[in-house]
C-alpha cells in the first residue's frame, strides 16, 4: 500500500475538527417553563443513552468522512509489482517491436506495426523522464539505450518493415540482456507481437525462459497486437526451373497459393517488365483452392504454373501477383529475374571426330526439332589445341586424352585459373607415366593408379552436388545398372582440394571435382566417347551407348553446365540478404547505377580490378536493376528480392500456452491499451484505489446524511 500524494495525508488531522465542534461549539440551552416535565423525566435515561449513541455514531461517521477524504485525495495505491527492493528506482525499459513484414497486416485501417508503435509511443509518454529506454526491433542492427524519450519516439516512428527479420527470441533475449545491464533499475521489457506461431515456437519459448531465469528482476509485458481470426491469401516462393535461359528455352515457373480464412478461387497474374517502366501482363490463372491436409481447416492451398517462351537475350524481370486484395499485401507479389544468355561455347578436344561425337550430340544434338541451343560445341584435335586461344570458350572437354604436350597442360591450367571450366574424360589413351607428371597433376584430382577391370556401374549416393542438381528430382528412376562400366581408372591419393562428386557401385570415385583458381576441373574416370565395339579392344562402358542413354545426356549437360559456371546462378534473394553478382565482362566498370524497386537510382563505385559487386541495401521487395555504360564496360544486370514465406504464416499461438511457458508473474499478456495501463499501474505505481476510496467516502457521507436526517427528522 502506498500513496501517490502522501502530503495530503496530513488532511487526516482535520478529524479533530468535528470533535472540536462537538465539544467546544456546544450551544446554550433555551430556558422554557414546562409543567409537563414528568413525561420528559420518565424517558430521560433511555433517551440520553440513545442520544449519546447517536451522537457518537454521527461523530465517528464525520471523523471517518474527513479522514476518508484525506486518504482518498492522497491517492492510495496497492503495489503488486513483485519487484522487491526496487520501489521508486528509475526504470530501464526495452520496447521490442516486431517489425517483420507480417506486421504489415492491416486491421481496422491500421497495420499491426502502426498499432504497436502507437501503443509504444503512448507508453513512452507515461514513463518518467529519467527512464532509460531502448527500442529493439527485429533487424540485425545493434541496439542500446537511447538518450531521451524524444529519441525513443523518433526511433519508434521510423521503424521500417524488416524483410529478413532475426528470430524474435533473439530480439527478446537482447532486450532482456540490455535491461539486465542496469542492475539498479526496475527492469521491464515490453514486447509488441502478433503472437504468430512461427515466431513463438517451443524452442523460442524455452530460449526466452532460460534467459528470464538468469535475470530474476526482469518482467516482460507481451502486448498482443495481432488479429484473432486473420484472413490472408499469399503466394509462395516462385520456383523457376532455371534462372539462366538459353535462346529458345521457355521460362517455366511454379507458384503456390496459400489462403487462410477463405477457399474461393484466386486469380494469379504474371507480369513482365519491359524496357519501359510499365509492366505487361503475360498470363493469368484461376487457382482452385483445396483444404490443406497438413494445415488447419481454415487453410487452403493451390498451385499455378506459368510458361513464357521466346524471351530475347538479356535480363528479364517481372512478378507474379494475386489479383485480389487482402489485409496483408506484402506476400501478394513475388518477383523474379531471369537472364537469357547466348549458348555456352564448348571446345571438345579428341584424337578424332569419333571421340567427341557422343558428347557433342549430347550437348547440342544435330538432329531433332529442339529449338533450345544451350551449348555451342566446337570439336578440335589435341594437336590443334596447342595453338588455340582457349579464352573464348567457357568449357574445354578432353575426351579420352592421350599424353599431352606440357604446353597444352599448362595452357589448360592457366585457362582454368582464370575462370574456365575443364572436363577430363579419362580413357584407354591415358598413360600413368605421362599423366602423373606435375604439369598434368595441376589439373587432375590425383595420381592415376591402375586401369581397374572390376565391372561396376555408377551409383550416386548423394545428389547434393550442384553438378547433379537437375537429375536429383528423378534420381530414383535412373537404372544405372543397365549402363555397366567395365573399365575405369583407379586413382591413388587424391589431391587435398579434390573431392568426389559421384562414385561407382564399388565405392571407387567416378566423377571428381577440383577447383583451380577461379575455375574448376571435373574428371570422369571412365570415358564418354567409347563406341559400342571399338576395334582391337573391349569398350570401357555403355554410358553413351546403352539402351536409351538419356541419363548420359542429362549427366553430360549437367557437368558441362556446371563447368561453365553459368547455369547455377540465381537472381532471387531474400530481403536484407547481401547480393553478390559476378561480372562477366572483361573490363569491370568503375561506376555503376543501382536502380532499386522504388525507382531512385543510386550511383555506386567499384574498386579497380574488382569484378564482383556486393549489394547489401536490399531491404525493399521488388526488382533491382544494375547498369553501367560504355562499350567494353557495359553491364546490364538485375536481381529480385522477395520476402520469406514465414512472413505469411499468420497462425497464432494460444495465449495460454504462452503464459504457461514462463514463470508465474514474470510475463503478462495484454491486448489493449487499457490492459497495459492496468499492468503499468499495478506493476509500477501500484493499483490506484482512488475510485474505491472516494466511493467509500461517498458511502460514509450518505450514511451520515441519512442517519442525521433520520435522527432529527421530526424537526421538519
Amino acid at each position: 500500500m502506498g500513496f501517490l500524494t502522501p502530503v495530503l495525508l496530513g488532511g487526516v488531522a482535520l478529524v479533530a475538527l468535528p470533535v472540536l465542534l462537538h465539544l467546544v461549539m456546544r450551544r446554550q440551552p433555551r430556558k422554557l417553563a414546562f409543567p409537563a416535565l414528568q413525561f420528559v423525566r420518565r424517558r430521560q435515561q433511555a433517551n440520553r443513552r440513545r442520544m449519546n449513541l447517536r451522537n457518537w455514531l454521527l461523530l465517528a461517521l464525520r471523523c471517518l468522512l474527513v479522514a476518508g477524504l484525506a486518504v482518498a485525495l492522497a491517492r492510495p495505491t496497492l503495489r503488486r509489482s513483485g519487484l522487491h527492493g526496487k520501489e521508486g528506482a528509475p526504470l530501464a525499459v526495452a520496447l521490442v517491436v516486431d517489425n517483420s513484414h507480417r506486421m504489415q497486416y492491416v486491421h481496422e485501417n491500421k497495420t499491426r506495426q502502426r498499432q504497436a508503435v502507437e501503443m509504444a509511443e503512448w507508453l513512452v509518454e507515461q514513463f518518467p523522464s529519467d527512464t532509460e529506454i531502448a527500442v529493439v526491433d527485429r533487424s540485425r542492427a545493434a541496439t542500446g539505450f537511447v538518450v531521451d524519450k524524444k529519441t525513443a519516439e523518433a526511433r519508434l516512428r521510423h521503424l521500417e518493415p524488416e524483410g529478413s527479420p532475426r528470430p524474435l527470441e533473439d530480439a527478446v533475449r537482447g532486450a532482456i540482456q540490455l535491461v539486465t545491464d542496469r542492475p539498479d533499475h526496475r527492469q521491464e521489457v515490453f514486447l509488441f507481437s502478433d503472437l504468430s506461431a512461427v515466431d513463438w515456437t517451443k524452442q523460442a519459448l524455452k530460449s526466452i525462459k532460460e534467459v528470464l531465469d538468469k535475470s530474476p528482476d526482469v518482467r516482460i509485458f507481451v502486448v498482443d497486437v495481432g488479429v484473432t481470426h486473420p484472413r490472408n491469401i499469399s503466394l509462395g516462393q516462385l520456383k523457376l526451373r532455371s534462372s539462366i535461359l538459353r535462346p529458345g528455352q521457355p521460362l517455366h515457373m511454379d507458384v503456390s497459393v496459400r489462403c487462410i480464412g477463405s477457399d474461393e478461387a484466386q486469380l494469379v497474374e504474371l507480369f513482365l517488365e519491359g524496357s519501359s517502366t510499365e509492366a505487361v501482363k503475360r498470363g493469368q490463372h484461376h487457382v482452385e483452392l483445396t483444404a490443406s491436409p497438413a494445415g488447419s481447416n481454415l487453410t487452403t492451398t493451390g498451385q499455378a504454373t506459368f510458361e513464357l517462351a521466346d524471351l530475347p537475350l538479356g535480363i528479364h524481370q517481372g512478378y507474379v501477383r494475386l489479383a485480389a486484395d487482402d489485409p496483408l499485401e506484402v506476400d501478394n507479389t513475388r518477383y523474379f529475374t531471369v537472364d537469357v544468355r547466348p549458348p555456352v561455347r564448348v571446345l571438345l578436344l579428341g584424337e578424332n571426330r569419333r571421340d567427341t561425337l557422343f558428347l557433342r550430340e549430347a550437348l547440342s544434338p544435330s538432329m531433332g526439332g529442339l529449338h533450345v541451343v544451350r551449348f555451342e560445341c566446337e570439336a578440335k584435335q589435341f594437336s590443334e589445341a596447342v595453338s588455340l586461344a582457349l579464352k573464348p570458350y567457357a568449357v574445354v572437354c578432353l575426351c579420352d586424352p592421350p599424353p599431352l604436350d606440357d604446353k597444352l597442360w599448362q595452357a589448360l591450367a592457366d585457362y582454368t585459373h582464370s575462370g574456365g571450366g575443364t572436363g577430363i574424360f579419362l580413357g584407354h589413351r591415358a598413360r600413368m607415366s605421362a599423366f602423373n607428371e606435375p604439369v598434368a597433376e595441376q589439373l587432375l584430382p590425383g595420381k592415376l593408379k591402375i586401369q581397374s577391370r572390376q565391372a561396376t556401374h555408377l551409383r550416386p549416393r548423394s545428389l547434393a552436388h550442384p553438378a547433379l542438381s537437375s537429375i536429383k528430382d528423378y534420381a530414383a528412376s535412373i537404372p544405372w545398372e543397365i549402363y555397366p562400366v567395365w573399365k575405369y581408372w583407379e586413382l591413388g591419393d587424391l589431391a587435398t582440394d579434390a573431392y568426389v562428386v559421384m562414385r561407382f557401385a564399388n565405392n571407387q570415385p567416378a566423377i571428381l571435382e577440383r577447383p583451380l583458381g577461379r575455375g574448376r576441373v571435373v574428371t570422369l574416370t571412365t570415358p564418354v566417347s567409347d563406341p559400342l565395339e571399338p576395334p582391337g579392344r573391349k569398350t570401357w562402358n555403355l554410358l553413351p551407348t546403352g539402351p536409351e542413354p538419356w541419363p548420359f545426356v542429362a549427366l553430360s549437360n549437367q557437368i558441362v553446365g556446371y563447368l561453365a559456371q553459368h547455369d547455377n546462378a540465381s537472381f532471387t534473394f531474400s530481403s536484407g540478404e547481401t547480393v553478390v553478382l559476378q561480372l562477366a565482362t572483361l573490363q569491370p566498370p568503375s561506376i555503376y547505377v543501382l536502380v532499386p524497386p522504388d525507382g531512385e537510382p543510386m550511383r555506386r563505385k567499384l574498386p579497380p580490378g574488382e569484378n564482383t559487386i556486393r549489394i547489401s541495401t536490399t531491404r525493399s521487395l521488388g526488382n533491382y536493376k544494375l547498369t553501367s555504360g560504355g562499350t567494353l564496360t557495359q553491364v546490364n544486370l538485375g536481381f529480385s528480392v522477395n520476402g520469406g514465406e514465414d512472413q505469411s504464416r499468420l497462425e497464432r499461438i494460444d495465449p495460454t500456452q504462452l503464459a504457461s511457458a514462463f514463470p508465474a508473474n514474470r510475463v503478462q499478456l495484454a491486448e489493449t491499451l487499457e490492459d497495459i495501463e492496468i499492468y503499468v499501474d499495478v506493476g509500477r505505481s501500484g493499483h490506484e484505489l482512488f475510485s474505491w476510496a472516494i466511493t467509500l467516502v461517498a458511502l460514509v457521507w450518505s450514511t451520515e446524511h441519512l442517519l442525521a436526517n433520520r435522527f432529527y427528522r421530526s424537526t421538519k
Binding site: R27, Q28, P29, R30, K31, L32, A33, F34, P35, A36, L37, Q38, F39, V40, R41, R42, R43, Q44, A46, N47, R50, M51, R54, F711, Y712, S714, T715
Partner: protein, 298 residues
C-alpha cells in the same frame, strides 16, 4: 365552518372580556350550531307551548295547536328531576401555563366552566363550584337560581392558579364532602401521580357521582413544538431538565400518549367520561360531552 361555530374558538372568546358574556356567547353559539334541540327526550313534564324555532325537532310540533292557530308551536317540557352539578377547578400553578396560545389552561377551563354553569342554570339545575390546590380551597354550594350564575362567574373571575397541587387528596376530600349523587365536572391538567388520582376518582364514582373529567393541557404540552437544546422548568416544583427537543419529541409524545391512554382506559372502566382537551380546541367538544352525560342521567 359556519359563522356560529367559529365563535366557539378560544382565540375569539378571548376577545370578550366579561366572563358572563363569554359564557353566554359560548352557550348560545353552541346551541345554535346544533341541528337538534339538546333538550329533547329529557325526563321533563309538559309545561307550555312555545313558538317553533329553527333547530327544534319537527316531531315536537303540536299539530293540534297548528290546526287551531295555523302556527307552529312545539311542546315545552319542564324538568322533573334536578341534577346537581359541581364545577371542580384545579388551582395548581401549572394550570397558568401557556406557550404561544390565546388562553392558558386555567382560562380555558374557566371559560368552559362558565359556559357549563350558564347551560345548567338554564336547565334549572343547581350548580356549585369547588376549587382545590393541595386540598379543597373554596366551595360554593349548588343552587339553581339565576343569581347563582353571577355568583359563580364572579368567583371564577377572581380565581388565580398559584398553588401546588394534590389532586388525589383533594378528590378524596370532595368525595367525603358530597352527600347526594351529583355531576362532578373536574377541570385539571392531571399533572400528578396518576395512581392516586385514579384511586380518588374510583372512590368518587363509588359514591354514586357522575364524573366528567376535562383533562385540559396546553397545546405545547400536547405537541411538544420546541426545537434544539432547551432547559425545561416545572413551574410548581421548580425542577429543571436540559434536553434536545428534536430528539426528545417522539419520546415525549409517546409518553403523553400512554398517559392519556391510561386515563381513558381507567375512566372507561369506572364509568367516567374522560375528555382530553387542549387549549387550541373549540369549546363545543366539552359542551357536547356535558350534554350527552346530562341526557344519560335524565
Amino acid at each position: 365552518m359556519s359563522t356560529v361555530e367559529k365563535y366557539l374558538k378560544p382565540e375569539i372568546i378571548r376577545k370578550i372580556s366579561r366572563l358572563d358574556l363569554r359564557a353566554q356567547f359560548i352557550v348560545k353559539g353552541f346551541l345554535q350550531g346544533l341541528h337538534a334541540s339538546p333538550f329533547h327526550g329529557f325526563s321533563v313534564e309538559f309545561s307550555e307551548h312555545r313558538k317553533y324555532a329553527p333547530g327544534d325537532n319537527p316531531d315536537d310540533i303540536d299539530w293540534l295547536v297548528y290546526a287551531k292557530t295555523d302556527k307552529y308551536y312545539i311542546k315545552k317540557f319542564e324538568a322533573e328531576t334536578n341534577l346537581t352539578g359541581y364545577l371542580v377547578m384545579d388551582l395548581s400553578a401549572s394550570m397558568a401555563y401557556s406557550y404561544e396560545q390565546e388562553l392558558s389552561k386555567f382560562e380555558y377551563s374557566i371559560c368552559l366552566a362558565a359556559a357549563l354553569c350558564y347551560l345548567m342554570i338554564h336547565q334549572n339545575d343547581p350548580v356549585g363550584l369547588i376549587t382545590f390546590g393541595e386540598k379543597i380551597a373554596d366551595s360554593l354550594s349548588p343552587k339553581s337560581k339565576r343569581q347563582q350564575i353571577g355568583n359563580i362567574l364572579s368567583h371564577l373571575a377572581r380565581l388565580e392558579p398559584r398553588d401546588k397541587t394534590d389532586i388525589g387528596r383533594s378528590l378524596n376530600q370532595l368525595a367525603a364532602m358530597l352527600r347526594h349523587s351529583s355531576l362532578v365536572m373536574l377541570f385539571s391538567d392531571l399533572l400528578g401521580d396518576p395512581d392516586e388520582v385514579i384511586s380518588a376518582l374510583r372512590r368518587l364514582r363509588h359514591g354514586g357521582h357522575d364524573i366528567i373529567l376535562f383533562h385540559v393541557l396546553d397545546k405545547a404540552e400536547v405537541d411538544f413544538p420546541f426545537e434544539g437544546l432547551v432547559e425545561l422548568e416545572d413551574p410548581e416544583s421548580r425542577a429543571s431538565l436540559e434536553v434536545n427537543a428534536d430528539a426528545y419529541r417522539s419520546d415525549y409524545l409517546e409518553e403523553l400518549g400512554e398517559f392519556r391512554t391510561r386515563y381513558d382506559r381507567e375512566c372507561h372502566q369506572i364509568g367516567i367520561d374522560y375528555v382530553p382537551l387542549d387549549t387550541s380546541m373549540p369549546f363545543d367538544r366539552a359542551l357536547t360531552e356535558y350534554l350527552v352525560n346530562r341526557r344519560n342521567c335524565g
